[in-house]
């Protein structure tokens, strides 16, 4: 890229060149991030389509007579006849496969945590036909929320599901729970409150318990145990979900090997024993639980350290135990069992076959007799399906004493019909997804899979039409196998063979469809990732080359003394970037940044001690740094904006407090909001009066607009607080005014000030350009934009906003003064950041390296602001409530913009806008050589600062990207690295865009005189 210019003399086109450089970098970053994201971040579109019972008539599976049979059932039959009446799903979070399966299945010595759920092993051994243990294989990401989503929708939830919800994780896709509710069946839930996030209004009765506190091992479990026994004796539910969390929490805190894990498992063993005892008592004919199926399963596994989220076998392998209360009359032929069991002889040892979690939703829907969820790509699993006695009696219930093979024929025929519907439903989903989603399936693969469907469908329709009577003929004529003569026996065998072939065809199709879906939604595109990463690395090279060229540009550096601060800045960037390799440092990035800033502060202190000047500011900088960090941790005032999930509790707490408590609370609120606000306003007005204002209208706008905005937001907060307390009743109209109108007014004041600045400055600069130094203009523009935006950003940040804003302003002020010390100006004048107007004689020279060092510190302050304003690099750390300040309704772009302003405003946008302050601050030192009115010099310096800043950010973002790529098999890739990548990539783009905007804006401020360097 030659945009930075290689010639020694920069001509008039410096603005255009710099602009084209930044634009080029923006494009490079976008391309790199796009390519990498395409390979790494698998996305899936949630289709708002739902299955309904009548859909099945569109399928080819109901021939005329069977369709009529379906109607005969008084509309009670949906897609399939329900084989079980009720189901109890006991979910044990993070249930490892080896918790359930017998220890003889694993090599080596039995571990302490094995065989601690003996009741399941006993039941599976004793009831061969009606109870089984499966290896239940999840698809990554193996986090509870995604897994529950996958279990109920039958899809493959990816890390980012593009849906229509915003913030709330509630499932908008079709799912098992919704289908049950639509069929009028009641679902009862107890346990982990993640279910309530997913299904806020679906349950007939719910007993959620908080899952936030990982250190709390017992609340959820005890709650479930309290609720489950009474529920077992009631008949007003069809599906009972009990979700235990203890094992997950023990794993997270103590690890799997802890004795507490054994305790927990033994506790569950007792619970399951008692549950089974109740069920068995009621399972007689006509009993409450005659047609009940008990499922004990995990949502995902965990590693020995208790981590989960990734795709290692320990994490994805969990267990499912299923037991039907009614014994089925036959057992499944072994050739329908999944892999290890189709080989082994069933009788030797209870063999454990594999059941993908993908199949759970479809199988349960078929068993419970509801429509399979629209987005399910799983298949009805033959082994789980065969456990229920109902599936064996689905066609002819009258022949109790039929032979074994005849039962098999019945079952196969019924299963074939179910698979037919299942295949048709999957085909329908694949077609719908391809047409309506953003990125459909690859056309060739989809065509291949659909051709499989066409083949098996033609195969399936043939024998049915040829001899529709054969089946009934067989069933009615021959009671036992012994009576069959050779010919008939042959017919029966050929019948079984024919059905088997069709069933295999369907299963083959469904497997291919699932593989296609997996390839689309769970496989990384390594090639894309490498490509994207190399583009990002290339962009860093371009950046660095541009910077090094810009460095040597302006003058001959006779005395390029090595600047200590420069090397330390390099070291800090290196440490910061290197720390991103470790998940611990990503979690503690706020602390890392604080630590580096404090180190920087110590260096400043050392320098200022050498000069004997500015010592108080260096100390103040250190104190402010500590203050900023601790503010991020301390909750001064319960803030609905930053603690979204606690709003419920928040609404309650004022009532429990006495009036004196309320008064003290509001006094705290006053101290923490009003004082910083008013001092900020005072600072701004004082500044505005001092600054050489070249437009009176702008001056008036700032002097009145900013305090008005602050007043309005204070009014908003206090009215909301008072309204939340029950003590004082506020007129509804006033409350609504404060709640909705005030924030909107604040937003419009901000927008107005920024717009006014832009328009006034762009029109005025030509007239006044000659007399006003460029640097002065610049500082004024920045200050006005800053103060204008501050209202909105403080409002969005919530109650902590004013304090943080004040601290940040002071910190930046210290930094601006201190970074000038890098050039060893011994008589650093006691001045404000706008030193430019006073023609100060300072003997010192600006090192371009010191710009880099200053930019590094600037970046650290920006990152610190991100963390101390309560943000985290996770999606649940987003302040969704901030998007709804002043608005009740949801509009994607408006609320998205507010959310973006809250997330990136203080930490990405404002630092970019304010970056030239570093130059004007530092340039004050070099009055002797280059006057501030030298437009060319200042704009070159600004360009350098932006290049340095962009370089630092690009390095950090690229390192994050590289880490994500390296750690893509890491346990916490979905929990930690991927969100970090998304935040950094978005942040980089935001910064790039605003750099371009800022450069356009600032360079248009330049007087239209010929500049030369």
């Amino acid at each position: 890229m030659g945009g930075s210019g290689s010639s020694g003399v920069v001509s008039v086109g410096v603005g255009a060149r710099v602009l084209s450089l930044f634009f080029y970098l923006l494009c490079l970053h976008s391309v790199g991030i796009f390519l990498f994201t395409r390979g790494f971040l698998l996305t899936r579109t949630e289709l708002p389509l739902f299955s309904s019972c009548s859909d099945v008539f569109d399928s080819p599976c109901l021939s005329a007579d069977r369709g009529a049979q379906g109607m005969d059932d008084k509309g009670r039959k949906c897609w399939t006849k329900s084989a079980i009446q009720r189901a109890i799903i006991i979910i044990i979070d993070a249930l490892r496969f080896d918790f359930v399966a017998h220890s003889s299945n694993f090599p080596g010595e039995p571990q302490a945590w094995m065989d601690k759920l003996p009741v399941l092993q006993r039941l599976a051994r004793e009831n061969r036909n009606s109870a089984r243990i499966f290896k239940f294989v999840a698809d990554p990401p193996t986090t509870t929320l995604q897994r529950l989503k996958g279990l109920t929708t039958g899809g493959l939830p990816t890390f980012v599901d593009i849906g229509h919800s915003f913030g709330a994780p509630a499932i908008v896709e079709d799912n098992l729970i919704l289908q049950l509710v639509r069929r009028g069946k009641k679902v009862r839930m107890m346990g982990d409150d993640t279910w309530m996030q997913l299904f806020p209004s679906h349950f007939s009765e719910a007993h959620p318990f908080p899952s936030f506190n990982v250190k709390d091992l017992h609340t959820v479990d005890d709650g479930v145990i309290r609720e489950i026994y009474p529920a077992l004796l009631q008949s007003d539910w069809s599906l009972l979900i009990a979700h235990f969390l203890g094992v997950d929490h023990v794993g997270h805190i103590f690890g799997v090997e802890s004795p507490l894990m054994v305790e927990k498992l033994e506790q569950y063993n007792r619970v399951i024993e008692e549950v089974v005892a109740v069920l068995e008592k009621e399972s007689g004919p006509g009993g409450l639980h005659e047609g009940t199926m008990l499922l004990v399963m995990g949502d995902h596994g965990q590693t020995l350290h208790g981590d989960h989220g990734g795709g290692t076998s320990e994490e994805v392998e969990t267990a499912l135990f299923a037991m039907a209360m009614q014994n089925p009359p036959g057992s499944l032929p072994s050739n329908f069992r999944a892999f290890p069991c189709n080989m082994a002889q069933e009788e030797q040892k209870p063999c454990i076959s594999t059941l993908p979690q993908l199949d759970f939703s479809a199988t349960m829907a078929a068993l419970l007799g509801v429509a399979i969820p629209f987005g399910s790509v799983g298949r009805v699993n033959p082994e789980l399906y065969a456990l229920a006695a109902g599936t064996w009696l689905s066609i002819n219930t009258s022949h109790a004493d039929e032979g074994h093979d005849s039962h098999t024929v019945d079952w196969l025929s019924a299963y074939k019909d179910v698979l037919c519907i299942n295949s048709w439903q999957v085909k329908r989903y694949l077609e719908a997804y391809s047409t309506s989603s953003i990125g459909g399936f690859p056309a060739a693969d989809l065509a291949h899979v659909q051709s499989l469907y066409a083949t098996v469908q033609s195969l399936a329709s043939k024998p049915l039409r040829q001899d529709p009577s054969q089946l009934t003929y067989l069933d009615h004529q021959f009671d036992t196998l012994a009576e069959l003569d050779a010919k008939k026996r042959e017919e029966l065998v050929s019948k079984v063979t024919g059905l088997t072939k069709v069933v295999y065809g369907y299963l083959n199709y469904l497997d291919s469809a699932a593989d296609l879906a997996r390839a689309q939604w769970t496989q990384f595109g390594d090639g894309w990732m490498v490509l994207g990463l190399s583009v990002l690395v290339a962009s860093i090279v371009v950046h660095a080359v541009a910077l090094s060229r810009a460095m040597v540009l302006p003058m001959d550096w006779k005395c390029r003394r090595p600047n200590v601060k420069f090397y330390f800045a390099l070291l800090f960037v290196g440490i910061h970037a290197g720390s991103l390799l470790s998940n611990s440092y990503i979690i503690g990035e706020g602390q890392v940044v604080c630590f580096l800033l404090a180190s920087s502060g110590i260096l400043y202190l050392r320098t200022s001690l050498q000069g004997g000047s500015n010592v108080p500011k260096a100390i103040l900088f250190l104190i402010l740094n500590g203050g900023m960090t601790s503010i991020g941790l301390v909750e001064i005032f319960k803030d609905p904006a930053t603690s979204g999930q606690h709003t419920l509790r928040n609404n309650h707490f004022p009532a429990s407090y006495s009036p004196t408590m309320l008064i003290s609370l509001s006094a705290t609120a006053f101290a923490t909001t009003m004082l910083p606000l008013s001092s900020l306003a005072w600072l701004i007005i004082r500044r505005a009066r001092k600054v050489y204002m070249y437009s009176h209208s702008l001056w008036w706008a700032v002097t009145f607009g900013v305090p008005l905005a602050y007043f309005l937001l204070a009014l908003h907060w206090f009215t909301m607080d008072l309204a939340a307390s029950v003590v004082i009743v506020i007129p509804q109209m006033f409350k609504e005014f404060a709640r909705l109108v005030c924030p909107r007014l604040v937003y419009s004041i901000s927008l107005g000030l920024v717009g006014l600045t832009a328009s006034l400055i762009s029109t005025n600069s030509t007239k006044r350009g000659v007399s006003v130094p460029f640097g002065g203009l610049l500082v004024e523009a920045i200050l006005i934009v800053f103060s204008g935006l501050s209202g909105t950003i403080i409002l969005l940040l919530g109650r902590k906003g004013p304090t943080i804003a004040l601290l940040a302003v002071l910190e930046v002020w210290c930094l601006l003064d201190l970074q000038g010390l890098g050039s060893l100006g011994p008589k650093c004048p006691d001045m404000d950041k706008v030193a430019s107007e006073r023609k100060l004689e300072v003997n010192g020279e600006v090192h371009s390296e010191s710009h880099f060092a200053a930019t590094v510190d600037w970046n650290l302050v920006a990152v610190q602001l991100f963390f101390c304003t309560g943000h985290r690099c996770t999606f649940d750390g987003l302040h969704y409530t901030a998007a709804f300040i002043g608005f009740d309704d949801f509009y994607f772009y408006r609320q998205g913009a507010l959310l973006a302003a809250d997330t990136f405003g203080a930490s990405h946008i404002l630092p970019v806008i304010g970056l030239p302050l570093l130059i004007t601050g530092a340039a004050g030192m070099s009055q002797k050589m280059y006057s501030m009115s030298d437009t060319g010099y200042v704009s070159l310096e600004i360009a350098k600062a932006y290049i340095s800043y962009g370089l630092v950010r690009a390095i950090l973002a690229t390192v994050t990207t590289a880490c994500v790529a390296l750690q893509r098999r890491h346990l916490m890739v979905w929990g930690l690295f991927a969100p970090k990548y998304v935040f950094d990539a978005l942040g980089l783009l935001v910064i790039d865009i605003f750099v371009v905007i800022a450069v356009v804006f600032y360079f248009s401020l330049r007087p239209r005189t010929r500049e030369k360097i």
Partner: protein, 210 residues
Amino acid sequence: MEDEKLGRAGIVATQVLCGAAVVAGLKTVPALWNLHLITQPVQTLQIALVLLCFFCCFFFFLLSLFKKCGLSEGLVMSAGTVVAALVALAFGAPTSFEFAARTWHWACLMSSLTVLPAAIMLGASWTDWQRVFAFTKPHGGVELAICIPAHGAALGAWVGAWPMPLDWERPWQEWPVCCTYGAGGGYLLGLVVTVILCFVNVRNVRPKQD
């Protein structure tokens, strides 16, 4: 210059004994009472402090017999403690009340490693302090013996803070423990460097004049 009068032997002996005091104070002596830094940081630090202060005062007093001693050392040291504690907080030490005692004791240790010898030797001379700590230009062996171990202790504590956020869940990752080890290690390293500098070349003891 005191350097000539004292000779290298005095400095080296001081350094060795100070190092021994650090090791004994942090490890050996607490072990006699079955104390360990990881489990009982406060008590261990107290023992280390007593030993360190005693030895430091004793030996540096011996070294500084020639000097007019003020009684302000205690004052300077407590001021140093406050500064060290504040610096720790600025670097992100936990602010909660339960850690206050640990922070305070750690700050005392840092102060006795860095400030106390300087307070004894340099007295109240601001320019000397500035020269040794702000410019890192110690003159002579005694100032070297003050300056290098002090910087070593500070840098060691800085480095020692890095393992703290890691999720290894080890007891020594608790707040003052690894910083204390880091400071002790850095201090010992500084002592070794001082001794080497003293022995290798007396010229090296004189810093280069820029």
